[in-house]
């Protein structure tokens, strides 16, 4: 069993309740079985042959949204999400993966996105992709959420790169990165996709990669080394870091101001995986006239709204997360909610709990509109 490697974590968490009030899923369901300690308890029993992996256990393990809040909160330093990932690897091997998860895996393999979308890609974005495959030092990676859900962000980032006279290229066809597959427990398929991504980046001849996706950013800056892969000298920027660089170099000028109350929601990947707090905030600081308020839960403790995986496996749970985050935004009194992920923007905009008065905009869009 793969979880044997995580016995110490599992045994430490199985009787510990200290993160239950911040666990995203336990918080929105108020159910004991959704807590990290409940999941750890059952895994500890699997380790001791007191329970066998089952469909019920599989469902519970896949209902963890992997937001890593428990890991962030833990004063003992335990990494329970890694044990969850390990259990998923076991469940894949045992053939116990829930159908909803299998569907997402199939979509990733077939369509390169977790949404089950076989296109079409926005014609404008497709045109940009077609026109910008010539090798250049800067390579722009959109990520599947921008390509399939929020192409307007892709158009805006291209607009900004053009304003800054950045010679950039894109991949003719962005394949799935493998990171979602990794988080779902499909290790072999994940590795295959990651190897292909690294190969395509190296073959492109680029010197730097600019990424719009938080999960891709974390994969290339963090997780890749754990898969014994490396980019060999290619510098990786999250788009917020890159735009900040362009502004500091005087290549982008924010001419317009914004007389609005604004706030910012960060994705799990930026908040707790990459821990990229400063660049988005420094970028927001560049906006003249805006009244910026932090949400009560921010940076490493930003409340999760779930990732594409949860949204496409257990949408009713993702909807609960979205509601609690939107409640927080409403409480802040902000006119505009800024996101830094196509996935998050799409989820928040489409939530039935979003008030009509609240404007939700990606940071890339905002910077382009004001420059």
């Amino acid at each position: 069993m793969n979880i044997v490697k995580y016995q110490q974590v599992i045994d430490s968490c199985r009787f510990c309740y200290m993160c239950r009030h911040v666990c995203s899923m336990a918080r929105v369901t108020n159910e004991e079985e959704m807590t990290p300690r409940a999941r750890a308890l059952v895994l500890s029993m699997v380790l001791r042959d007191a329970e066998d992996y089952s469909e019920d256990i599989a469902e519970s393990i896949y209902q963890c949204c992997l937001c890593e809040y428990c890991k962030e909160w833990c004063q003992g330093g335990w990494d329970f999400p890694s044990a969850v990932r390990a259990a998923r690897v076991d469940l894949v091997k045992e053939g116990l993966v829930p159908e909803v998860v299998q569907n997402v895996k199939d979509s990733l393999m077939k369509f390169n996105n977790p949404y089950g979308l076989d296109g079409p890609i926005s014609s404008e974005l497709q045109e940009i992709i077609s026109q910008n495959t010539t090798p250049a030092e800067t390579l722009l990676l959109f990520g599947s959420s921008v390509i399939y859900l929020s192409p307007e962000i892709g158009l805006k980032v291209v607009s900004l790169l053009n304003k800054a006279n950045v010679d950039f290229m894109v991949l003719e066809k962005e394949a799935t990165s493998g990171y979602e597959l990794y988080n779902l427990g499909y290790l072999e398929e994940a590795k295959e996709k990651m190897v292909a991504l690294v190969k395509s980046l190296k073959m492109s001849g680029c010197k730097e990669v600019v990424i719009l996706s938080g999960s891709l950013h974390y994969l290339l800056t963090g997780e890749l080394k754990n898969m014994e892969l490396e980019l060999e000298g290619i510098r990786v920027y999250h788009v917020t870091e890159y735009l900040l660089k362009l502004i500091s170099e005087g290549k982008i000028d924010l001419k317009e101001g914004l007389d609005k109350k604004i706030t910012y929601h960060e994705s799990d990947y930026l908040a707790r995986y990459s821990k990229l707090y400063d660049a988005p905030r420094k970028l927001i600081e560049q906006i003249k006239g805006a009244n910026y308020v932090e949400l009560g839960w921010n940076k490493g403790r930003a409340r999760s709204i779930g990732s594409a995986l949860l949204k496409n496996t257990y949408p009713e749970l993702a909807a609960k997360l979205l509601k609690t985050r939107l409640d927080e935004v409403i409480e802040s009194g902000a006119d505009i909610l800024i996101t830094s992920s196509g996935e998050d923007k799409s989820s928040l905009v489409n939530s039935p709990d979003k008030p009509s008065s609240l404007q939700i905009v990606d940071i890339v869009e905002l910077i382009d509109d004001l420059s």
């Binding site: 911040v22 256990i57 833990c74």
Partner: protein
């Protein structure tokens, strides 16, 4: 569809429960039941650690309203099904374990805050709310419950009321039963009652105090109004080292009997100072660590602190200053995360007892002698909640894994034997079975021994309220 292994009778009960609270609020999968079969009591923990299966409830039910609680209780009563209330499940006495199976009534979906009264300085909430969430909400309005137990992040308001919990600042702000104003309770027959509006009166016995500490045996506390406080203008801590325990205890006693109103005093014995304090705070010292704190208006705090410092300096070997007092406050929850917390494969238990100042030290030495007569077992203690008349001793035994039998039945037998012998030292010397963790399953059998003839009062109330004995059977000696 019948769930696997369910009889027609079981499915009929299931249907009734689902009818009252909705299908999504009744759980019958093993994984749901397992989560409610192990709490923080060492016995179920060692049981599952050794590969055994714990006792599972038949149904886990999540009511969302008081009326639903009432309906569930009525179903349990009609069919004489054991019903155990589960809040956070973080109790260390086995009080929330469904040892007779039946229904577990999990209160965590009863978690709304109903009113914050900024005139009377009270908050009314449903009792399934995790206390830290309640604290965060009242903080937004500039208040605090001042109830900061180690289990704040995992225990519910109802759990604290049910077990008479205390927070680290209880010395000034009071225990949970001192914070209660009034409460709503669902009785074992399903009736919904309220205690009187205010807790202080000459209108007969206090119903609040009847249900506080009743551990779900007299009913289900569903709403409570408790005191809230302004955040203090100033909060200061100071730490000292003493050569030995008697000197440190005497300093604490003087601070209390001179009525300086500290928010906290903690005295750690030499073993705990050397072990836990060093690991968590990084203070490597010989002797006994004492930390105290004051809060309120700065001018008053300064005077209170000055007098307390003078008291400590009479016998302290070292003034550690405010930093090591403040770091204790900042790290006050860190002690309870693994690996700082005691865990298996050790055998361990917290036998917190309470007694008057003239008796507490004798109990300490007596319990220490008994505990340490067991091979591979050490005794550590700190004194953490103080009154004008005495204090509580938060004492623990820790048995090295080499001396814990591999067979879980034998391990539990040894554990219970040690516990009984040690806690009887407290009982025989003017101490009580427990200060703030409750009785639960662990010490249920000792309640009559402790109370003597007075126990008939509690027993007869139980008979009157719960003639079918459905509420949390096997707990509290009832």
């Amino acid at each position: 569809m019948l769930y696997k292994n369910q009889s027609y009778y079981d499915s009929m009960i299931l249907s009734q429960l689902e009818d009252k609270v909705g299908k999504n609020n009744v759980k019958i999968k093993t994984i749901d039941k397992l989560a409610h079969a192990v709490d923080c009591y060492w016995v179920p923990r060692v049981w599952v650690d050794r590969g055994e299966k714990p006792i599972l409830p038949d149904y886990v039910v999540y009511p969302e309203t008081t009326e639903q609680v009432s309906q569930i209780v009525k179903i349990a009563n009609n069919h004489k099904i054991p019903l155990t209330v589960w809040g956070g499940g973080s109790g260390s006495q086995g009080g929330a374990l469904p040892i007779k199976k039946g229904i577990v009534l999990d209160t965590k979906k009863l978690n709304r805050i109903i009113n914050i009264n900024d005139s009377a300085y009270t908050v009314t909430a449903e009792t399934g709310i995790i206390h830290q969430n309640l604290e965060w909400e009242v903080n937004k309005h500039g208040f605090s419950t001042m109830h900061f137990p180690a289990s704040i992040s995992c225990a519910t308001l109802g759990g604290f009321l049910g077990h008479r919990g205390v927070g680290v600042l209880s010395t000034k702000y009071g225990r949970i039963e001192d914070l209660i104003i009034n409460m709503e309770v669902v009785l074992p027959n399903g009736d919904i009652i309220n205690t009187l509006e205010v807790p202080s009166s000459s209108c007969g016995p206090d119903l609040n105090q009847l249900f506080c500490g009743s551990e779900g045996t007299y009913g289900v506390i569903t709403k409570a109004t408790i005191k809230i406080f302004d955040e203090p203008q100033s909060r200061k801590f100071r730490a000292f080292m003493f050569q030995n325990l008697p000197d440190a205890l005497e300093a604490g006693r003087k601070i209390m009997t001179r009525r300086l109103q500290p928010s906290v005093i903690r005295v750690y014995d030499e073993e705990e100072t050397a072990d836990l304090i060093e690991r968590v705070l990084g203070v490597k010292k010989n002797g006994c660590y004492l930390v105290f704190g004051f809060d309120g208006y700065e001018e008053i705090v300064d005077i209170q602190e000055k007098i307390a410092v003078d008291i400590c300096k009479e016998t302290a070997t070292e003034d550690l200053g405010p930093e090591l007092g403040e770091s204790w406050w900042e790290n006050r929850y860190k002690f309870y995360y693994p690996p700082y917390l005691m865990d298996l494969p050790k055998a361990f238990g917290t036998m917190d007892t309470v007694a008057t100042y003239d008796k507490i030290e004798k109990i300490y030495w007596g319990m220490k002698e008994v505990v340490e007569s067991y091979p591979g077992t050490k005794f550590i203690a700190h004194f953490s909640h103080w009154y004008e008349w005495g204090c509580i001793m938060y004492d623990r035994f820790i048995m090295h894994p080499d001396y814990v039998p591999k067979d879980p039945d034998e391990a539990i037998r040894l554990y219970n034997e040690l516990w009984n012998k040690a806690i009887r030292v407290a009982l025989n010397n003017g101490g009580l079975l427990n200060d703030h963790h409750g009785i639960g399953l662990k010490m249920s059998h000792l309640m009559k021994e402790q109370y003597g003839p007075a126990f008939q009062v509690l027993k007869n109330i139980k008979k009157a309220l719960d003639p079918n004995q459905i509420m949390n059977p096997g707990k509290l000696g009832l």
